[in-house]
Symmetry: C2
Subunit: 539 residues, 2 copies
């Protein structure tokens, strides 16, 4: 503390007048941001509307269409500019109107279950006995041929419950944070991608097999216990829709069915799945809004979070929280009246849960293309996700150099604890400087560790500096993520206020930085990390 | 270890022939018990049938009637004697055939909810808007008069979610165990009982108020979060049945409704509660079975667990586990062919969840009566529970002296770690001796602490030595107890085998003990612990 004060005094003493003015402006802006973010916060109002009123936002569902319109109108209301949506081809809209799964025999009991996304409905109650027929790859089909007719097929091996012997809710300690700061060498194995791509059509092969065998529906088991169900289902493309209705059943209920089927007559289920398809528009839309920069040649910085969610809960922590923090940072900066050098762009992505498709579309529309003709570009559904990273070369588009930094939020609703520098040591001192004012809010860690699985990865892969915020984990991974309790009441208002405020400040720092962040070289196809490795999947 | 060996050698050297034979018999019996309990266990088969096939066993429900018959036939099949049921007046049978609660506006969503026990059904779908009208005592009615007509009344103040920052699943450490060994002074405050009795009619007053105001149904919030619902509802007596259907809604769903109602038009719910009453027999039945003793004058020892459960889950840990351990101990002892000096009686209690009514009935039928005429004896429902402890004098029945020790199991499905000596230091060395063979199974703690809330308390209150087993907590209190995940898959087979084996051995030791346990004096009305205290409830 003392050290910082001395440093500040020294800086004042030595700074020339222009720098002095700039510093005063910077302080004034920071104070305005803090005032807006802490004393006039709207982040929880935004998050509540998104989670409670709009509800879960499966890409292209009617709720997502509402969210597309509402988020744009909020951005406009707050004075953001260039508010618009950017479409890309996605697939079908799908939503649940009503759903019920009951065991009828040996005794009546209401089960906890959810229709699997993009599977068809049952056209009224469907009643049939179950059969436990665990299958996870094509070669498992042989064992069950001739045995599935008229049955509801239970596909998951039931297994046993877990022992929750760690605290579900936690915050990062100083020790936890220091462990994040490690360089992790990248790996590259295009053969693994090829294997994944080969397996992608399993869901369709399974559906065709079940249909040809005369099965009437299928059921999977939730991967969590505690009666939580979660989102699954990836056949969202037009023409991909499975023939059979599918439901995911809570682990306790699924395992009870499996035990009953093991020791006595197979239980009978009644499935009533009233789901709706909407093909009126197969495009999905990213939402964009801006605070224009004063220097048209300086490019832009961007922050994004995915607006889409699964449907088991309300998409509150994943990722209504991130979306609300993005929106609130935009509101804060607009209300604070900042005039940044670079444009600050805000993005709400869609299709993230189906393969990070929204930010991928942004890359392809604005930043760079990957690969040549005939090597998977424009493939549909999950194939696009797995194929994208493996297409070479990366060819920059005219807008490539304009985006100087991207910040992503997608680790639940916990407060920000710093930034992942994502294997980029040159960025570390600059990120540290931007986070410095927030040490007392616990948010000044910069950790070299890379993170994956969300909307900064495809930007990174083309050489754009995409960073993700470190967040307190709370009970996100342990019970909220993708689950039926991803609801607003598990968000913490203090965390959300802290996050939006810091995000706003970091964005402003990045937009006003004298120099853009040092950019890595344009990525070219790396060497295979272990060319001598064999895989279990080799066949 | 060495010390024990020396002691054993010394005993051999000094023991006369008869004692030597007795010791050999004891070892042979212990080995047979271990062999049956560990190598030929049926405890999980018993528990699975009870939880999965029969399901939850609300007292007097059709499932409980099945359980009454099935448990008796199992006892008989295993060679137990004097297998029979003992009835007492209880109330109505009630069961759920089908149940669904949906939010219709502002968007369709299936809620997690359960009908409140012994409330009437809805006669098809009931659709109405909600009103959040928190009430918990009669004086709260005034605030809501004239506002409830046509509404589904949400009675619980929503509050906020918890932060589960402790591990839900745990076992007792040595340190935990040592902390249990403390004498806790008893307290006595008959005024508190009077106040409780006065409040008991609140549920009926609330129902009458809601009905008179034209409300159409009511909803409460589950006291756990994580989408768990649990059992509640105590108006089980004939003539007590409420007019309005009631549902308990999962916390996440309830709080969402409350928030929506706060910020916009009240959401509309559709409740479809198809429940069934059965008044064909208003008696509830304890199940009794025995291994006869060789000395008709030596009395009997008894172990019990309650067979009844709530209906949100399957009553697996509460208390299918305890019931299965009691049944398995009976099977083990029968299969081991033991011929104990005292009779060993096994009891499966009912009505425990409605006020420990089954074991109370046993006390009144076999052991002692409490109080004189006109002071609450034979009162109905929960009044009996609160009134019983406060009726004086205790008048022993002819069978009073026959019961020399009672052992209760009702702390979930965790393995046994020892016995609560329940404020009885004179019993400690004897209990220690009986548990000594099980040190290596982690079950040799004897802790002076008293425990309450289950079927040994009314025996203790009349001066019978009732003990409860210490058990590893697992995730019983944290998430299983009374909840919708009280299912078989949360039981641990190794724990259940250990428990049944040790219970069998302890029972045999108690039945064969040279002397009965030292019995406390006949309880008389104690001094009021703090006659100078005022209470918030004084009015």
């Amino acid at each position: 503390m003392r050290h910082l004060l001395l440093a500040a005094t020294a800086l004042f003493a030595l700074a020339p007048a222009a720098a002095q003015d700039k510093k005063t402006d910077k302080s004034a802006a920071l104070n305005s941001i803090l005032d807006q973010g802490m004393n006039h916060s709207e982040v929880m109002v935004t998050a509540q509307y998104m989670a409670d009123v709009i509800g879960p936002r499966l890409t292209n569902s009617p709720a997502m269409r509402l969210a597309e319109g509402w988020t744009q109108s909020q951005f406009s209301r707050w004075g953001l500019r260039n508010v618009h949506k950017e479409g890309f081809e996605f697939g079908r809209g799908w939503s649940i109107e009503r759903s019920s799964v009951r065991m009828l025999t040996p005794r009546p009991i209401q089960l906890t279950a959810i229709p699997i996304a993009w599977t068809p409905g049952t056209s009224g109650p469907l009643t049939a006995p179950v059969i436990v027929a665990p299958m996870k790859e094509e070669k498992d089909f042989a064992k069950w041929r001739g045995k599935l007719s008229g049955k509801i097929v239970m596909l998951t091996l039931p297994g046993t419950g877990d022992e929750p012997d760690e605290a579900p809710f936690r915050r990062l300690s100083g020790d936890d944070l220091s462990k994040l700061d490690r360089f992790q060498q990248p790996t590259y194995d295009p053969a693994a991608t090829d294997r994944r791509l080969k397996r992608l059509d399993y869901a369709q092969k399974l559906d065709a097999f079940l249909k040809s065998e005369g099965a009437v529906a299928y059921a999977t088991m939730s991967y969590r216990d505690g009666k939580l169900v979660s989102g699954e289902g990836y056949l969202f493309g037009k023409g991909e829709t499975p023939a059979l209705p599918g439901v995911q059943i809570a682990a306790e209920d699924y395992r009870r069915l499996a035990r009953l089927a093991k020791v006595g007559p197979a239980p009978t289920l009644e499935i009533n799945s009233d789901v709706r398809f909407d093909d009126s528009d197969t495009q999905a839309y990213n939402i964009i809004a801006e605070i224009p920069g004063t220097d048209p040649k300086a490019g832009y910085v961007m922050a994004g979070a995915h607006l889409d969610s699964w449907v088991a809960g309300d998409g509150a922590a994943d990722n209504g929280a991130g979306s609300a923090m993005i929106m609130e940072a935009a509101r804060i900066l607009a209300a604070a009246g900042v005039r940044p050098r670079r444009t600050i762009r805000f993005a709400l992505w869609v299709g993230e849960e189906q393969g990070i498709l929204g930010s991928m579309a942004y890359v392809e529309q604005h930043l760079a293309t990957r690969g040549g003709a005939g090597d998977g570009a424009g493939g549909k559904g999950m194939q696009r996700y797995y194929g994208f990273s493996n297409r070479w070369p990366v060819t920059p588009l005219p807008g490539y150099k304009d985006l100087t930094a991207y910040f992503n939020i997608d680790n639940g609703s916990g407060k920000l604890r710093g930034l992942y520098a994502e294997r980029n040591p040159a960025a570390v001192p600059i990120l540290r400087e931007w986070l410095a004012p927030f040490a007392a809010m616990g948010a000044n860690t910069v950790a070299l560790r890379p993170t994956g699985g969300t909307d900064h990865v495809f930007l990174q892969q083309i050489g754009i500096q995409g960073f993700q915020f470190i967040q307190d984990p709370l009970d996100y991974e342990s019970r909220i993520h993708h689950s039926s309790i991803d609801t607003f009441d598990h968000l913490k208002a203090e965390d959300m206020r802290q996050g939006s405020t810091i995000l706003a400040s970091v964005l402003l720092s990045a937009a006003n930085a004298d120099q853009a962040l040092p950019r890595p070289p344009l990525p070219t196809q790396p060497a295979v990390t272990d060319p001598f490795a064999y895989s279990d999947d080799d066949d």
